[in-house]
Symmetry: C2
Subunit: 236 residues, 2 copies
């Protein structure tokens, strides 16, 4: 559904009912409780579908139906909007992973649950924000905080993976892969590419979480693993 | 080494020695046998480091040291340059995969060799061109041919993966993953992200090829597999 269709399909007050001093040019067109959320939604659509460099704040304001001055009230620059969007993909995962790390569970279930939650979020978010990770603009100091948050998430995945490998070694599993602690996050983030290429099935995040464990050489009862992983996620 | 340093460090004829009617503003600054190759090299650098939308053909011509008219002699539009760059990442792989498919080898070795070759190319190419796969610009009809070539490569990977899974099933391996024929290409393409994030080790393409097989549940002698894969690649 594009923004126009969505707009038309929603019941809304006629233009004449709007208060005179109201800064909004029209009623809400977008999901979001607040103007800030609507701005983020419009920006995510435009950045992912038209490109970051090719999208102006004027265009974002138009897509929301607010004046540019209103947009600047919430975000001083386009970079601020991008940073807010990117942080929604990483900050909640860091928090969830910390909670999962604190639970009593097998290393495999912890990694599976983390990959499943992260993958589901990347797969089901309204716009494919992960596709913005490779923007050259992110290489500037402005995005240092986001880059560090993503590095922290990578480190968490690596720790979880290392514990799985240790556990397998202690169970006598041989032929374990060398230095593949990075594989889990790499695999999970490919859901961004799958979405982009319009391939993959509804169940893709769960299949990907399974593949994460398999790629580390994990063996065991898959149904038990999925059950333990689901139990961890239910506690969040 | 940036373009300026590279230029300065090379012995070159003084400007006065250049023929009067020569369309080049300076001597060669870039690797490449021909002006066309130099243009592709400069464009790859600028597209990956500054962004596609933010790079003009004027800027590319400047980076090569040729007049814009010379650039237009080789490429009519910026899109033509992008397409030429993208095709270098996929066309040779399609050809190699066809050769590999024609050799007598185990399904696992065929997939390993394909993943290793593709991964090495993504990992070692002078510029990280794979980072351009998620450009919104590629969604237009203009790039239909590239999108189809990449789909053909995906289909080849899927076929190779299906044969590995069939082979494992016939050997009595149980608990094989469901519908994970897409995992191999997904994993190989994460080398683009690793490069972007400046992580990973020199041996990364080989580790990734191993992980591809592992993620499919392949078991067996890893040294034998790597040897057979290397033999296939030596035949190309």
């Amino acid at each position: 559904m594009d923004a126009v269709t969505e707009h038309a399909s929603r019941a809304e007050a006629p233009a004449s009912a709007q208060g005179a001093g109201r800064p909004r040019l029209s009623d809400r067109k977008r999901p979001g409780e607040t103007a800030r959320e609507e701005i983020l939604d419009a920006a995510a659509e435009l950045f992912t579908n038209r490109g970051y460099a090719s999208t102006s704040t004027r265009r974002i304001a138009e897509a929301v139906g607010v004046r540019q001055a209103t947009l600047y009230h919430y975000f001083r620059t386009k970079d601020d909007i991008l940073e807010a969007l990117l942080s929604t993909t990483v900050a909640p995962m860091l928090e969830a992973a910390a909670t999962i790390a604190g639970q009593t569970a097998s290393p495999a279930a912890r990694l599976h649950a983390t990959a499943l939650l992260d993958g589901t979020q990347l797969w089901q978010s309204r716009w494919n924000i992960g596709a913005l990770y490779l923007l050259p603009e992110l290489r500037t100091e402005r995005f240092e905080q986001f880059v560090q948050a993503r590095e922290a998430l990578r480190a968490t995945y690596r720790e979880f993976a290392a514990l799985v490998l240790d556990d397998l070694a202690s169970r006598g599993v041989r032929d374990l892969p060398d230095a593949s602690e990075d594989i889990p996050l790499r695999l999970v983030e490919t859901l961004v590419n799958l979405r982009w290429d319009n391939v993959g099935v509804a169940d893709e995040p769960r299949r990907t979480a399974d593949a994460v464990l398999r790629a580390l050489g994990w063996t065991g009862d898959w149904n038990d693993l999925r059950r333990e992983s689901a139990r961890l996620l239910a506690m969040l």
